[in-house]
Amino acid sequence: MSIQLEYLKNLLYFSGVSFAELESISKLVFEKTADRAEMLLLEGEPAENLYFVASGVVKVFKTSVEGKEQILSIVRPGESFNDISIFDSKPNPVSAQAMGPVLLYGIKRNEMEAIVQNHPQIALNVIKVLVKRVRHLLSLIEDLSFKHVIGRVAKILIEHIGGEMGRGPRLTQQEMAAMAGTVREVVGRSLKELEEAGAIKLDRHRIIITDKEALQKLIEVSS
């Protein structure tokens, strides 16, 4: 079995598909490589292909008109991206960028449509993939819409300032996310917003609080 066939066999998209069917599908798969920071999808552009990550990592994100970036997902080996626009034939709703050297396996939109029409098992698998995507996005929407995360992050920063007696606890963004009841992606954005507002300065492994009053005001607003 070729590496590509072995890879396809383990994808949720092709779970439960026979070897013969997989072999015919594999003939439609093409390889694409990209270097670090290379854009793989641009928001608003026509969607041409469905991609599976074979190696490396891809960042899927949206950018606001002010240029602020919100990461929607980190796509690792064995996962796919561009699943939404490939099936509704509308432009890409997101952008995607290689975080390092990547190897992708792609299937053209029209060929993926034919595959789904001819293989009910794959149609079911696609539903499972899309449901997983919807659940993840719903969770992100909840965090971004209903929670005053920035105030909570401000509170966490103030509560964990290193004192005169020594260094305070060192916190990762993942730990801050767990404390704020949100996800790491939202903490990353909150820290950037606090830095842009002049309340903190990110200096490599240090978060320097430059305006403690501004942080306290944010806590009051969000409580």
Binding site: G56, G100, L157, H160, R170, T172, H205, R206
Partner: protein, 65 residues
């Protein structure tokens, strides 16, 4: 420097691929820091790690007025 917990590392190498400063390498199937000066604390290695084997903790300090 990023903190590595070797027992959690599965040797997948995703962090090596995303490190823009070539500060990491997989040695004997475990992630290792090979370059300490160039790390700019982008935290991408932590972001892509699925096992929590590499973390980038922040020290929080108050600027002296």
């Amino acid at each position: 420097m990023p903190v590595i917990e070797p027992q959690k590392c599965n040797g997948c190498g995703l962090c090596v691929g995303v490190c823009r400063n070539n500060a990491l390498a997989v040695v004997n199937n475990v992630i290792t820091i090979i370059e300490t000066v160039e790390c700019d604390w982008c935290t991408d290695c932590e972001l892509v790690c699925t096992t929590g084997a590499i973390i980038c903790p922040f020290e929080i300090i108050l600027q002296e007025s």
